[in-house]
Every structure is written in structure tokens, then in C-alpha cells.
Subunit: 206 residues, 2 copies
């Protein structure tokens, strides 16, 4: 059961995370003080650090939540589905756009994208983002171990699979961001990346 207590906590966390991202994309990383984020979330500055141990962590928090969902998604896939097929689908499931962004008016949307781009370029954030990915990867490795009946402690296999899958997603995203317009649909890139990895990345593909 979800007590009022738990729910409020989750809400505050979400509010802080969203405020952190929103303000950063808008003004740039170091024009945002922790104080601003706390205020935007309607909470005291001191409380901010009860939820996140740094500004960067707050900004990366949504990325973390999203990445973690991949592991959950994998567990939902039918057990008889081939592993790499299931992984691909689990990864794809994370790329449905959120409602806050979807509901944005078009001009604002363009600025938003630009803001996010500069945000991702911020060195101080990259580390935290990568940490989030690493955490999710560990969780994914667990899911893979369960699904394949391998043992995390003795086999490298589940970790390798999780790492390769993470890498495929990361590369697809990087490629998506790099190749400006017209953008290849991200779903296509992800499917392709997974296929290449599952094929063992044989020397020159063409």
C-alpha cells in the first residue's frame, strides 16, 4: 500500500528532478543555483540535499529512472522470446516521449531541444549521467542473469550482455543527436544497433 508519506516523497523527488532539468535547459548549468531548484519545487534548500547529494545528481535522476525501466521492461517480456529480441523491445519501450515534452508548443520545443543539447554537453553532468547508466546496467545484468539462468558471480555473460545493450542504446542516442536533420528515427537506430551487436560486429559491414 502506498501511504501518503511515500507518495509525497516521490512527488517531491519528481518535482525537484523536473525543476532541475527544466531550469538547467533554460538558463544553463551554472546559472542555476540549488536554491532556485528548491524554490521551484516548493521546498527548502536544505531539503534538496535530503533527496539528492548534488545538483548534477538531481538533473540526472530522470535519466536514471528511465534507464532503470529497461530492466523492468525486460522482465515483462515473454520468457520464450529470444534474448536479443526481448532486449531490443525492452530498450525501445523507453523511448516513448513524455507528456510534459509532448505538450509543448512548437517554438518552445525547439528551444527545449537546444537547451537539452547544451545540457548534455556540460562536463559536470556527463559523469553523473554515466553513473546513472552504470546503475541501470547493473540492474539489467540482474534481469539478464535471471532470464538466462546464468550466475552473476561466476559468469561474465550477463554483465557482458547488459553492457553491450547499454552501449547499443548509448551509441544510437549519440548518433541520433549528432546527425542533425533530417533525423533518422531513433527506433530504427536502436533496432539496427542491437542487430549489429547481436551479430558480433563483424569487420566492415559493407
Amino acid at each position: 500500500m502506498t501511504g501518503l508519506r511515500e507518495r509525497k516523497k516521490a512527488e517531491t523527488r519528481a518535482a525537484l528532478g523536473w525543476a532541475a532539468i527544466h531550469l538547467t535547459a533554460e538558463r544553463g548549468y551554472d546559472n542555476v543555483r540549488v536554491e532556485d531548484i528548491a524554490e521551484a519545487a516548493g521546498v527548502s534548500p536544505r531539503t534538496f540535499n535530503n533527496y539528492f547529494s548534488s545538483k548534477a545528481e538531481a538533473i540526472a535522476s530522470r535519466h536514471l529512472d528511465r534507464s532503470l525501466r529497461t530492466a523492468a521492461a525486460l522482465r515483462e517480456r515473454p520468457a520464450d522470446e529470444p534474448l536479443w529480441e526481448a532486449l531490443t523491445q525492452a530498450a525501445l519501450a523507453q523511448f516513448t516521449r513524455g507528456p510534459e515534452v509532448e505538450a509543448m508548443p512548437s517554438p518552445a520545443h525547439a528551444q527545449w531541444v537546444a537547451g537539452v543539447r547544451t545540457m548534455l554537453a556540460e562536463p559536470a553532468l556527463q559523469g553523473e549521467r554515466l553513473r546513472a547508466v552504470a546503475t541501470a546496467e547493473a540492474e539489467l545484468a540482474n534481469a539478464v542473469a535471471e532470464r538466462t539462468g546464468t550466475d552473476l558471480a561466476t559468469d561474465m555473460y550477463p554483465r557482458l550482455v547488459a553492457a553491450a545493450a547499454s552501449a547499443a542504446v548509448a551509441v544510437a542516442m549519440a548518433h541520433y543527436l549528432d546527425s542533425a536533420d533530417p533525423p533518422t528515427p531513433i527506433e530504427h537506430l536502436i533496432t539496427d544497433a542491437f542487430a549489429q551487436v547481436a551479430a558480433g560486429l563483424p569487420a566492415p559491414p559493407r
Copy 2:
């Protein structure tokens, strides 16, 4: 030609990096102030930030340097060697132990290993370490693109290969650190990891 200027700079950088690691492994991350590191390297605290933009970055600097060498090593491999063979060898080449550590007396060595372990567990450092890996990965992708005649801008292939290789090394290291004694030799783990990745990580290996 290497001017005195350049050499001194490199030396200072190395001294700072080494001091940072050494002190941290010895006393723990937050019992080391920037001031201490600077002093140990014989330089003013202010100068520290002319070389590194954070304590964490200084500590990760050697990891970065080492990781970057993988790309260089790949370029040295004979051009007719199969790609994955060359990658494996390039990765293996980075794991010859450094002289500072090799020359350590045995009891000190044990403490050193323990220190490094706790250091790697420090959240504040993981991000920076991952950033270093990411930087090296980009460089490796370049080398792969050159070797295979693919194009970074249009093909995901070189990035995927670089990412998969990085992942293989990372997993091998993680596995090595986890499985305490008796440790499987790291070379063996790396070779194995690369082989699995190059084989496309087919579902359950046994």
C-alpha cells in the same frame, strides 16, 4: 621537439595525478584536501586548478591516460590482423602493471589494493572515471573508423565496436575485482570477454 616548458608541465600534471591517487588510496577520498595534493606535488593550491577542474578529475587522470593508450595501441597493430584480434591485443597491452606499484613491498601492496578498492567505490569518483572511459572510447572509435574505412558521421559501426570493446574491458575488470581470491588472471578474462562479444553474445553460453 620537447621544450623544457612542455616537459615541466607534463611532470607537474603527473605529480598531481599521482599524489591525488596516492593520498586518496591511503586516507580516503574526503580526508584529502586539494591543498594536500598540491603540497605533495610541490605546487600552490591555486595551480592545482590550472591542471584539473576538480579533485575527482585529478584522481581519474591516470585512468584516462591509460585508457587513451588503447586507441594508440590499436593503431600500432598490423593492418592485416583481423579487427577483433587487434582489439583484444590492444586492450591487453594496457594491463602491464606500472613500476611504482610493482616496486612496492608486499605488506604495503595489500593495503594499496584495499585502498584502491575503496577508492573505486567512492560515488564521487565513479562519474569521473566513467567520463574518462567515454573519452577514450571516442578516441578508440576514431581508430576503428580509420582501420576499417568506415565513417564516424554516417555509420554507427565504429562507435559500436569501440563501445563494445570498452564494455568488454570494463566487465572483465569488474569481474576481476569482484571474484576475490584466487583471482583469475585479468588477461584471461579480457580475452574471454572479447571472444564472447565478437561471437555476438549468443543466449546461454552453456
